[in-house]
């Protein structure tokens, strides 16, 4: 008689995506580790620009909880979107569509980590921060993934709020509330998101169409998307300098904000002008890549100024 401990499931009705169990790195991949790094980074900046103090151990545990919460929402997103991930080359090798992890496993993993991360953040920091993390997870997994993504071309505009919330959670961890500093950082990430993603969507329009996702280039057309990229960038460039006006961004931040903002505008105009062939691809990928560098540089400047004594006030 074969031991049941040495076996796997019987002939249960096959769900959409089945697997016999993946490797440990597959489960880690479900958490979208690159997004987790970005979330840790922006939440940390939200913490350092805040008035207040938490013991270092509480700060580290809180950042860990925020990162795991973000990973859990990424996992739930992959569970829900496995069908469209399977038809897009960029995502077809993710663990669920590739058959290395089953849908049920991913759902259980994501739900457990969601609850655990919120619980830990509530116990470690405070319940406002935990509530904001819970809201972020629900917003990303339910409002964005299950509803907006397949329903409207404004999907990443509204859904971008989930990606913009970590600095607000970071400030809530440190100060027990959230103020103008983290709300400005929220606004910067929120306005940065559409031109960043639409640059990629311009190139991947065919794949998004095949997957049935109403991204802006597929709905409003590439020309309208290019104009909107420019308009969002026109708002973003001065918005990126608001921390200087409010006094929590110093000289270093101002220089990076001005240079980066001008660079973003130049890349967006390049996207507007180059509409065909290789030039179009180069312009869009340039915008996509530079936008990552821009946001990273802005937040790095704040971190360096607040943490390493580089702050030189301008106002």
């Amino acid at each position: 008689m074969t031991s049941l401990t040495n076996t796997i499931g019987p002939d249960a009705p096959a769900p959409a995506f089945t697997a016999v169990g993946g490797d440990v790195p597959d489960y880690f991949a479900l958490l979208k580790p690159r997004v987790m790094v970005l979330v840790i980074f922006t939440a940390l900046v939200g913490m350092v620009v805040s008035q207040g103090h938490v013991p270092p151990a509480i700060g580290v545990i809180s950042l860990l909880a925020i990162a795991v919460g973000a990973g859990a929402s990424g996992c739930l997103n992959m569970w829900w979107d496995a069908d469209i991930d399977a038809v897009m080359t960029r995502t077809a090798q993710r663990p669920i569509p590739a058959g290395r992890i089953s849908s049920e496993e991913a759902l259980g993993f994501g739900l457990f980590l969601s609850v655990a991360s919120v619980l830990v953040l509530g116990l470690a920091a405070n319940w406002l921060a935990a509530g904001l993390l819970a809201f972020t997870i629900v917003f990303y997994a339910v409002i964005y993934s299950m509803w907006l993504k397949r329903a409207t071309a404004q999907n990443i505009v509204i859904g971008g709020a989930a990606g913009a919330l970590p600095p607000v959670i970071g400030q809530a961890v440190v100060s027990g509330s959230f103020g103008i500093e983290s709300l400005v950082l929220f606004a910067i990430i929120f306005i940065w998101t559409p031109p960043h993603f639409w640059a990629l969507a311009l190139i991947k329009a065919e794949e998004y169409a095949r997957a049935g996702i109403p991204m802006m280039p597929n709905v409003a057309g590439p020309a309208s998307t290019r104009r909107q990229i420019v308009w969002y960038t026109v708002i973003l460039a001065p918005l990126g300098l608001v921390p200087v006006a409010l006094g929590f961004g110093g000289l270093l931040y101002a220089v990076i904000g001005v240079v980066g903002g001008v660079g973003m505008l130049a890349f967006s105009v390049r996207v507007l002008k180059n509409r065909e062939g290789e030039a179009e691809k180069r312009a869009a990928m340039g915008m996509f890549g530079f936008s990552i560098l821009y946001l990273f540089a802005l937040f790095s400047a704040l971190l360096a100024e607040q943490s390493f004594g580089l702050f030189r006030p301008l106002v």
Binding site: T2, L4, T7, I8, G9, V20, D23, Y27, A57, I61
Partner: protein
């Protein structure tokens, strides 16, 4: 060799190896979870716990 009397099948060696790695990862994660709550408790209580009235 599959047992014809049961609807289950034996895992292949590769599947067993993956399951063993998963089990170790779960054990480590649980250990880290316990350690995290221990550290959290100590930090939250603080040194004043030693000078409480008896």
């Amino acid at each position: 060799m599959p047992d014809p009397e049961t609807p289950y099948r034996q895992l292949t060696p590769a599947e067993e190896a993956r399951r063993r790695k998963r089990s170790i990862a779960i054990a480590l994660a649980l250990g880290a979870w316990v350690l995290l709550f221990f550290v959290l408790t100590i930090v939250k209580l603080g040194p004043q716990i030693l000078s409480r009235p008896l």
